[in-house]
């Protein structure tokens, strides 16, 4: 079966957050306060607030159109809210210039989207190395770092394939490697299993959470799939552009 080991995965990272002794630290890494964001006349966020602690895996749930992806995009500095504040590690993110936000996304965040979004002209290995190449790492070290992830994610032998030659699950694991290769402090994942069958989706979630735990990476995960939510430390629900923290058994 197409399933590598399930244990903690991934080579040592160049940068990134040191692993805390506890599974999740108590320090806030992201804080969003009262975010408001509209698209034309349509309000997407109406006062959304969320705090994420370092090393935590948080699932953001909500029906279609609830504003959950918009919230993720604001937290990651892809979108800028009209009102409210986004803080990342003591730094205000939403007031930074476009260039500074791009640099922050490139150097300190990783991303995985619903369908891998690999560059079809590049090999799998080049796709994984891409974030490093874009942030100025030379080709040799970038490709070596990329290659290390293939074993960790059960992708051995697929380094030279192009996206058209990979299954959906393989392509998504390549995208996961690309999201992790730079040693991000926060990995943002938007429906990372949305286009996969249940077995491939489970494998991606096993690998994603194992790698995040091992490296102390904070994960913000948008999904409507309860089976994906079950991998997270806790969940919040976005409804009508606001965040509801469930009255659950977890703090």
């Amino acid at each position: 079966m197409d399933r590598p080991h399930r244990g903690p995965a991934g080579p040592a990272l160049a940068g990134g957050t040191p692993v805390t002794a506890d599974r999740t630290g108590t320090a806030k890494i992201i804080e969003a306060r009262d975010l408001v964001k509209s698209f034309g006349e349509t309000p997407a966020l109406r006062g959304a607030s969320l705090t994420v602690r370092q090393g935590e895996i948080v699932a953001v749930m909500g029906p279609s159109g609830s504003g959950k992806s918009t919230l993720l995009h604001c937290l990651a500095g892809i979108l800028v809210p009209e009102q409210g504040e986004v803080w990342f590690g003591g730094q205000r993110l939403d007031t930074l210039s476009d260039d500074r936000r791009s640099a922050l996304r490139r150097d300190r965040f990783g991303f995985v989207f619903q369908s891998g979004q690999l560059v079809p002209e590049l090999t799998a290995e080049e796709n994984v190395a891409l974030p490093l190449l874009l942030s100025g790492t030379r080709r040799g070290p970038a490709m070596r770092a990329a290659r290390d992830w293939f074993g960790a994610l059960g992708l051995d032998g697929l380094e030279q394939r192009r996206s058209g030659e990979l299954s959906g699950g393989q392509a998504q694991r390549v995208a996961l490697a690309r999201g992790l290769v730079g040693g991000p402090e926060v990995l943002f994942a938007d429906e990372p299993t949305g286009s996969l069958d249940s077995v491939s989706g489970e494998l991606v979630m096993d690998l994603l959470t194992a790698a995040a735990r091992e490296h102390g990476t904070t994960v913000v995960l948008v999904t409507h799939d309860a089976r994906v939510v079950a991998y997270a430390d806790r969940e919040v629900v976005v409804r009508d552009g606001k965040v509801t923290t469930l009255a659950g058994t977890r703090p």
Binding site: R6, P63, D206, H224, A226, R227, V229, A230, Y231, A232, E235, V237, R239, T244, L246, A247, G248, T249, R250
Partner: protein, 174 residues
Amino acid sequence: MTVPLTLLGLLERGPSHGYDLKRDYDAHFGRGKPLRYSQVYATLSRLARDGKAVAGPVEQGAGPERRRYVITDAGIGDVERWLAEPAPPEPDLQSDLFAKVVLALMLGRPANRYLDIQRAAHLQRMRELTDLKRDGETLDVLLADHAIYRLEADLRWIDHTAARLDLLSRAVRQ
């Protein structure tokens, strides 16, 4: 589903005769299994004995027992606690949660919140099962998967219902 608490919930709307309670129970929750009058009156007597409701004086007129029941503060407290308490995340929760949601909407209580509480209880159970799968033997993993998929079906219903509360609210208040 618990008949006494459901009747008590219906009684919270206002003082009612046993007959009215039976009719409303059958319409909303009976689903082809109407309550017997004897069951309704026995339940109301017990609720009165336990201080959850008070029976009014027998009213003038012919017919069966003409007595109105009024819910007490203790009764209201019981309804409130019951609604807010998540059912054990078992696959057959449907009827219990259904009754809670419909009653909450009738009484203008926060149905959304009760669904959230139930969702959290379900997700917590799914999380435990997912953890169990990580180190489990193949057969245990298969069993856990079965439970996970059934919980997922409940969760879909919870989300589906949460998205339609306005519509449901109008339907039950007619």
